[in-house]
């Protein structure tokens, strides 16, 4: 069985790598920026980049949701919070020596990234093989014909899945968002005497 290897045009390839580099660079800028407002701007660029990656992964709806919710909503919320909560807009005197925190953070980041890379490098080929083998076993047990294989696999849209299999989590999430909305209003509201 052939694996369907996706081949991108050179232009798409260049765009893909540009978006990836932009995303990582802006993510790095988020955590090293001296002024916190700069961090928020870099964060919005990072979210834009992630949304672009979603487009490359054929998740168009998710890319739109990412733009609307993150760039349109959460970034604005964060900027409001920044402007409400700082006199100087400085990221808060980072001058003090906290080498322990810096070192621990750097070590954690390094370990996470290398382990992800090693894991992926180990997994990549066997994953395809295992998928193939499992599928053959499945085919053997269930008895799938060549006609079944040739047929386009059935795919449900996101909307059908949200309103069908995932209806309960969807409703629970809506209640959670409502509760968070009310909770945020209650927390921020000024105390009124009497």
């Amino acid at each position: 069985m052939e694996y369907s290897v996706q081949i991108m045009s050179p232009a798409a390839h260049i765009l893909f790598w540009f978006v990836m580099v932009m995303t990582v660079a802006s993510a790095a800028l988020v955590v090293v920026a001296k002024k916190i407002l700069h961090a928020a701007f870099a964060l919005s660029i990072c979210f834009l980049g992630v949304s672009g990656i979603y487009v490359f992964l054929h998740a168009d709806f998710l890319a739109a949701v990412q733009l609307i919710v993150y760039v349109g909503g959460i970034i604005v919320l964060i900027m409001f919070a920044i402007m409400f909560s700082s006199h100087t807009q400085e990221a808060g005197g980072e001058g003090g020596r906290h080498y322990l925190a810096l070192g621990a953070g750097a070590a954690t980041a390094l370990i996470v990234f290398t382990s992800v890379l090693m894991m992926v490098g180990k997994l990549n080929q066997p994953l395809a093989e295992q998928n193939n083998r499992a599928y053959e076993a499945y085919q053997h047990t269930v008895g799938i014909t060549a006609a079944d294989l040739a047929a386009e696999p059935q795919r449900l849209g996101l909307g059908h899945m949200l309103m069908g299999e995932y209806l309960l989590p969807f409703e629970v999430a809506s209640i959670l968002v409502l509760a968070a909305l009310l909770g945020a209003v209650v927390i921020v509201r000024k105390e009124t005497k009497g």
């Binding site: 993510a27 998710l62 919710v69 964060i78 490098g121 990549n124 059935q154 449900l156 968070a180 945020a184």
Partner: protein, 128 residues
């Protein structure tokens, strides 16, 4: 895929990143690592919240790349949920991240109104 010992580090990485899944997972790993560093090393509560958002984004990216890889990789299982299952998870993560950001920023604003600081070194009202 050539093993690491034969190809050398550079060739191994080059072969690794020719897969779109690997590139996206490495991107997600990098963003997650940067976010983890931000949470651990920065002293501003707002920057820490922003870093948590970065980490959530990395996790969503992982879900979406794996669900895309399930479509691309090998013969397709006739499971109609295989293709977009990861995107459903990402949607739920977005909803929960929005709720988390709203409540977290509300707490930060409320705290700043009472104590005039968002620095973790000075936030010790509940210590001891």
């Amino acid at each position: 895929m050539v093993p690491l010992a034969e190809a050398g580090v550079f060739g191994w990485l080059l072969g690794l990143f020719s897969f779109k899944l690997v590139s996206c997972l490495a991107l997600a790993g990098a963003i997650f690592a940067i976010g983890a560093w931000g949470v651990l090393a920065r002293r501003n509560v707002l920057v820490m919240l922003i870093s948590v958002e970065l980490m959530l984004n990395a996790v969503m990216l992982t879900f979406v790349s794996f669900s895309r890889a399930l479509v691309n990789m090998g013969p397709q299982l006739s499971n109609p949920y295989a293709a977009e299952g990861g995107q459903i998870f990402a949607l739920f993560i977005i909803a929960i991240a929005a709720a988390e950001a709203a409540v977290g920023l509300a707490i930060v604003i409320s705290y700043f109104r009472n104590r005039q600081t968002v620095d973790t070194r000075e936030i010790r009202a509940m210590k001891n």
